[in-house]
Symmetry: D2
Subunit: 510 residues, 4 copies
């Protein structure tokens, strides 16, 4: 699926870092967070922000925010301002609404009776509208339309703010979690602690890594004393680029305290009895970077299994298998392995084609998405091609690619999609087109092959997807005994497939 | 006084505009506010912001904020976004503190149970610390260090927010005014109304102008029907550049409602019995643009009177009178007229010298402020010069100028300062150096002439300044009968001279 | 090979466009050139420039130049300035030397007695120093260090400039070609004509495409009447993105005139008797985009053949074959096909890692290039990996990748390089590190495997590379009969392998 | 006269600096040039450039160019690149024509057989078209439309460039001066020398200053040993800001060599017998900064004399005298002194009004230039005002000012212009509107008072202007004996009044 034109988008990536040991340490916290955010860049490219704290009492916070990619948003000279941080959190954002764009940029910082807190958030509160009303009824004015500000004000609001020394932020976070079931993976920074929080349904990912000396990064003999710091991230793919070892996931409902003293589970807020977890299955299908690990398995491998399963469910009489570069490549390789058909590349992508400056009503418009691709004709001219895509949402980007292949000599183009049709909106953080825009809800879907110009079109079944995802999780929960209060709740496996099935994990308030 | 190096600064300028008549009108509200802010640029050059409303129900707000001068902060293409506004308020800011600079930029907008309000503020709440604590105790997190956010949250907070149709913003503003005596000149925009508010002491200026057809701008026969809109501004100097006629001042303690239906006094919040008004006398001395009108008189004329008074109090046996360009020129002309000495120009200022890029430890550093001036030698070589300055705060900018004049041939340089020595900090919105930095508090002040290299130094007396200011106000209060609820409170005359005398208009809380 | 850190770079990309038919046409010439340059972005990313002409008599030229990627260098509003062009040429540049960077940006335009000419150039004149001296001896001052200015001045200089109506630019170009044998692929624009020129040795690529209605782009029934315009480009990969059909290569030594009337060979300047052509073999190995066509064959296919040949020359006892993404992928797939070993992906590249802002002396520095990659562990842990790279120049980027794979669980890492060792400098347009920096010239090369940490290292032989390149050319020359003056010279096949063998196609002057 | 709207503009300012003594010295040459250019900013605000040389053999040149004001064009980090210069020249430009704007930015640098030369130029060659043709006929392509490039190529061209060690640049400059009589004030930098050149008619100003220790800047006891360096500048007003003492003017036709060894006259190229010098009289009237010195007198004083002369020629029965701020102030003070009428300020200028972003067809447009001014009503309401302007060119900026004064209460507004009507175009470097646009050539000029809305309008006579200028020159020429080859030619006094009288100093070629 062509990301830019698909109209589908994850909301955000979050990344935090705490230096271990006595402060001030020499750990380059701000740079680590920046690199961590760069590795999460696929989760949001509109703005980026970092807040660091020196961790002292009272702490000094330093913030940096900017529009665009991380590398554009922060200039090297700006990063120097943050250098003396001992801990910090960062955020990269997918899209904003509301008046002042930079204003919506996270992390959101507020001053309270008990000092400043900073919040970075990935997800979307299903009952945000009701919560906004509640906060405003209390007399609070909200300066942005973002859930993050809402969360900070909810945290500040209840339980009633007393002028004590100890504000009990954990009680406040727990309280917040009882007021909104999902979806959020949160980091709350206060003074010298980061609280890493995942909603009880575990809808958005969040995991922990350990910073070790680079020389010991890949060895197995790493002791407690080698810990240089801790990181929290939406995805583990960010660990390689900063020299961290994967430690574990934050469990659904868990509040983890991360400080210079280490990582500690404070509590686990349970789901209603009987409710399974609801980890977003589209993280596997499309959003996450393939080298990330969820539920003990690598995303790449899951995608490859989806391709294999697709080959079983939807075999094709064809000559070659290929991919729409490059998110569908693991599935295509899986399809090829399972089917025995040779894998070839059929398209060459021009990475430099960016925001289009093409005027309307010109012949160039007619080229559409095809102008981003070159056809590797020798590999498919005169052949029957199976083209694997990871998902089809609106159906308007695959069509010109098929046309391009056909015109360049493919005798047949069979589309095989490594996920089921997207039919329902998401209210938990994914930006999906309206129901009407989804190709699977259109009358044309009956003859989707004809509509997009393919020889045939087949999708992976929901069951196929779920089993491809779960096949690798078997022994995972047992292994993870580091979380003290492990309950049955955290051991269950469950995924949100709402956009495919319409079955939402919680009842939606309107 | 050289502004940039004086270390003294006014906090802000505010400007609002409402189109008259049925909406949508053709009045270019956003452009008028922008030009209005440009005319208030001397009150703050660090950032600028505008919020417009279409005035419909519910209203759509559009905001624009940027760093630097108004002309840099807003690009023409940005202004186009605001063009359909029927009313709006703007702000130009002197300096920011706190983490995220753009975030502190005003106007501050928050969403409440009864819709959005936007606030622009000039001044400094004397009891801000206590009010912040109060707001935070209520459970509100504050995202900036600015008084403006504090004001919006106070307005949202009390009286308790009910889910009624009519939120009674006026009661909320009155409530705010009972909680903080000074200093603020405020504009609060809600839906289709701007409330223009001046604190009971009238510490900061605020006045109203009427937009008329350009062709009728200066004639006297302007009828009610000619009103195209209303503007509110920190200073009347902004009226000429947008085609508005001066209408009247907002009175101390007054809440004025400005809408498409016109201008209406809602209430006047009184000062404690016996307290006189406390309009900042430094507005006359230094801050305001000379063509602005306060209390019925033109600032230029007051400065000229200060110069005359100075000539009476501190006559000089000299050959010529001149000015440190260009804020001291009216006083210098006044001194020349009173003393009978000829007025000449002695310095030519280079307007293009900006932020210095000069490396430390070079010979150029030694030139100091003198590198901004060229000496008009022919006018003073071999002569005894009286050099008028409007004020001397830290005393480090006048010194190199005196040196320059002497070396270029002045036989004597007598400094005459058209205001008394600044000795005390201001807590009401003016950024004055710490007590220790003020030259008048230093041991060297005993021999100030020797310290700065002058032949002699004399200051205007406090009494002289006050009488120069009040001499032109005589008949002013009577004239202004358009404010309905005129009480004795508004008819009194009084000025804050705290920075000169240490007598603050209200008790300061700590 | 990691491009950014390899220290090797192609000099430039050139692209021209002429609208067919009577002018003014509706063809969006400026946008076509811009998109053409974007497709050539891999050939140069430092600056970009476009000059368009309305083609009238006298013509109006409009120019646009900027630093950085094409999308950054030109803003949409700037492109609008160029919109009325009927023809134009563009350039994207790899690196500049000299004082003023923007000044070195091409195309270079000069005014002459016979009107303005604009020149865009890819290559490097082997005798530039002597030519500069010649021009300067004539009394011309040169304002840049670029060959392009030198070429414009040489064109202006000889034959002597007479005040005739017809300046005979073709004679001037021919004269230039006799003065410098190589290397240049040139476009010279004058009034309503573009002359496309390739040096007699054909060292740099240049080809022609035909703009047709998008609807007829891939059909075969395109008639003469369907021609909407002509384009000239360094590589044919740019044709897909603008809707052009590949027409033919400009032949070594050929001067082609392109105008609204069509494409016409004017002359072919011959090489010295016996000299074969010398098309840069590194265009196949590394520089060109894989979907480009040279000498009748697709670059992708040549690279795949290199991989196959490498599998024959250097077979490996291993479990999987993989690539250093992504330039080596065709060779890796070829190696896998020939060897029968399975092809897997082992590395996931983070495209957002850009210019590094990492401070020296931090632990992050130690991560080196590995911070750009995520390991797809499941695909290779516990396995013996053959890792294909397209070339190894300095040997310092492959080393951390090998380390990463080993530490992530690869039991063996065999490096197979799909080209021979680079040992000699290039004087014809490729920026190669100094002889001392080339790993193949270092003492460590004797134990290259030990030096870079690989289990084994093998290179493709020069003979193997040449045969892999030539195997696809067999019948190519005959086919291309559209060039009128085809002589034996143009039918020969020959490649420059100087950087591998030290055998330069022409004698080098010093 | 309102500069921005007058449509009249000087072409450029030039500034050079050479460190004295053995190199490398510690003199901050690049910063001195930058500050020097800032002081010449009124002569050109479109672009700025600096080229420095380390003066070694062969020299390294470093260049910096940028658009806009000097402070915008150069960033501090850029200036650091230039810091090791021992000498350098700079340029600030009024306006550009031609394709690439930055390309036209000076100084222009070319490489020649004898090394690089850099040229900065103020003026306009009267026979530029013929010279361009000559250069191009020689076979040189010209890449810009600027005279500066033309001059560099002429210098490179003749006498024929031989491969000698000594290129004899002085002979080349002399040769150039015989080919073009006027108008140019030039600096040519080669290796370790700056040649400062003024055309034989002395049409544009150029003067020399001596850098001394800041502590000795204004004393008289400065010895030879105190020389820290030399500067050359269009105007002496730049000397104060860099710590230089005025040394002397470059004489008409003089070539001065400036090096670390000091200042030396090389030769004086004579005018044709009988031709007087033709120093631009408008430099006195309008362009120059008032603290600059020309022909031994301060510009401010000349303007004051013009005002006095105007009071004699055109007395007025009025109450007060005032100025259009601020270029006309010296003349207004002179008029007041001579007439005995009191001088007052009537207008307050808003310095922040910049490029207008006002949309067409709005009521704001109608305000015109008046939106830049505030009326100081108290000073003139009910009075008859004499308003002094320095010149009236198109007559469309004074009109709204008169209207503003009248509407604000002036009973009469008498315009007195301190220079004669401008009637003819300038071909020597001043950008004057076309003949048709000049108000003095329009039919309305017969009733100019009625046309602009004034009570009366009177101009200074040409004779009055000339005598006001010359009255201060009397003893000047004798004093300046430092120029060795003083001939009668340099002792003559003469001014170009072509724009007022149509009498051009040289015959114009077409």
């Amino acid at each position: 699926m062509e990301f830019e034109e698909s109209g589908i988008g994850e909301e955000c990536g979050v990344f935090g870092c705490v230096a271990a040991g006595e402060w001030p340490t020499q750990l380059e916290v701000a740079q680590i967070i920046t690199l961590g955010l760069v590795a999460l860049q696929h989760r949001g490219q509109e703005s980026a922000g970092i807040v660091t704290s020196d961790g002292f009492s009272p702490p000094t916070y330093t913030a940096l925010k900017g529009m665009g990619l991380v590398n554009n948003a922060f200039k090297p000279e700006d990063l120097l301002k943050l250098r003396h941080g001992n801990l910090g959190i960062g955020h990269t954002r997918y899209s904003t609404t509301g008046m002042s764009e930079l204003q919506n940029c996270q992390p959101f910082v507020v001053d309270t009776l008990h000092g400043k807190i900073a919040v970075a958030h990935n997800g979307e509160l299903v009952n945000a509208a009701a919560l906004r009303k509640k906060v405003m009824r209390h007399g609070v004015g909200l300066s942005t339309s973002s859930d993050s500000e809402l969360i900070t004000q909810l945290l500040a609001l209840t339980p009633p703010m007393e002028e004590l020394d100890a504000p009990d932020w954990v009680a406040r976070i727990k309280n917040l979690m009882t007021e909104t079931p999902t979806s959020y993976s949160l980091m709350v920074m206060h003074k010298d602690v980061i609280y890493a929080v995942r909603d009880p349904y575990g809808n958005r990912p969040l995991c922990i890594g350990r910073l070790v000396p680079i020389s010991k990064l890949h060895g197995s003999g790493v002791g407690e004393d080698d810990t240089e710091g801790w990181v929290v991230s939406s995805e583990s793919c960010s660990f390689q680029s900063i020299g961290a070892k994967y430690y574990r996931e934050v469990q659904p409902g868990e509040i983890v305290q991360i400080s210079k003293h280490g990582v500690k589970t404070l509590t686990v807020v349970l789901r209603p009895e009987g409710d399974p977890p609801a980890f977003c299955i589209f993280e596997y299908v499309y959003f996450a970077r393939p080298d990330s690990i969820f539920e003990g398995q690598m995303v790449y491998t899951v995608r490859q299994r989806c391709g294999r399963q697709l080959a079983i469910e939807a075999p094709t009489d064809a000559d070659v298998v290929s991919t729409v570069p490059e998110s569908a490549t693991p599935a295509a390789l899986g399809y090829a392995q399972q089917s025995g058909l040779p894998y070839v590349e059929v398209l060459c992508k021009n990475r430099y084609v960016g925001r289009t400056f093409i005027q309307p009503n010109t012949r160039l418009r007619q080229l559409g998405v095809a102008k981003k691709f070159g056809a590797l004709t020798d590999n498919f001219a005169g052949k029957r091609v199976v083209l694997i895509d990871d998902s089809i949402v609106r159906g308007n980007t695959i069509s010109p690619i098929i046309k391009l292949l056909r015109e360049a000599g493919a005798t047949e183009v069979h589309i095989r999609v490594a996920s089921p049709p997207v039919r329902f909106p998401c209210y938990m953080g994914i930006n999906i087109p309206t129901k009407e825009e989804l190709i699977a809800n259109k009358p044309e879907f009956k003859d989707i092959a004809g509509y997009i110009g393919a020889t045939s079109v087949r999708y992976l079944s929901v069951e196929g997807l779920v089993s491809a995802v779960r096949d690798g999780i078997t022994s995972f929960r047992e292994k993870d005994e580091r979380i003290g209060s492990t309950t049955e709740s955290t051991l269950k496996v469950g995924h949100c497939t709402a956009c495919l099935t319409g079955k939402y994990p919680v009842e939606l308030e309107w």
